[in-house]
């Protein structure tokens, strides 16, 4: 069964460092998303991406964040200068069409020290 894959599964970084989280969405999907989940809290929307551009972003997705689809398969989330409060589980998701099911990856746990 096709799945969304994410790397790394866990990254520990120092405050102020840049982090790149990688995702490989399901191959024929067109819509891509990043969500985050702070420990014990709900899953929060960060950004959606379609046709090589951001279609929508939340208030959380400030100038420290950026997304990129550098080739036909990868979808990355970059945090330029990490803060302690960026520590969370980051989930990539994709779907084939707007009316379709959203498939999530297993997540990348980011720990900022």
């Amino acid at each position: 069964e096709p799945e969304v894959t994410q790397t790394p599964s866990h990254q520990v970084t120092q405050m102020g460092q840049e982090v790149i989280l990688r995702c490989v969405p399901i191959s024929n999907h067109l819509y891509f998303y990043w969500y985050r989940q702070i420990l014990g809290q709900k899953v929060e929307f960060l950004v959606s991406f379609y046709n090589n551009e951001i279609s929508e972003k939340s208030e959380i997705f400030d100038d420290q964040f950026s997304v990129e689809r550098p080739d036909g398969s990868n979808f990355t989330l970059k945090i330029r200068s990490t803060k302690l409060e960026d520590s969370a589980m980051y989930f990539c998701a994709s779907r084939l069409q707007l009316s379709g099911e959203l498939f999530f990856g297993e997540g990348s746990r980011l720990t900022v020290l």
Binding site: Y35, K42, F45, S48, S58, A93
Partner: protein, 113 residues
């Protein structure tokens, strides 16, 4: 903005009993809802969805009920099994582009053997 909330943060049931997990949503314009299951350390996993033109939808051992009058959603799990132990989220679609999924805070279901 939209908000999606759960009535109870935790629920414990005996193995074999039926479980009912409730969810309230605030945006009367929402027309698509999904229930997700999240096991510890994993990404959300699709369980079942329902559109606003339906009141009920059944899957394998699961039923989702939608009451648009009171903006209430419920997930019924028949013959609950230990493998059903997880956090359950309801999500509604919304946002400026109708592209965002808004998640509730989740209900933690514990199945007692």
């Amino acid at each position: 903005g939209e908000s999606v909330g759960l009535h109870l943060p935790t629920l414990s049931v005996q193995e074999g009993d039926n479980s009912i997990i409730n969810c309230a949503y605030s945006n009367s314009a929402s027309d698509y809802f999904i229930w997700y299951k999240q096991e510890s350390g994993k990404g959300p996993q699709f369980i079942i969805d329902i559109r606003s033109n339906m009141d009920k939808r059944q899957g394998q051992r699961v039923t989702v009920l939608l009451n648009k009058t009171v903006k209430h959603l419920s997930l019924q799990i028949a013959a609950t099994q230990p493998g059903d132990s997880a956090v359950y989220f309801c999500a509604e679609i919304g946002g400026l582009t109708g592209n965002q999924f808004y998640f509730g805070t989740g209900t933690s279901l514990t199945v007692i053997p």
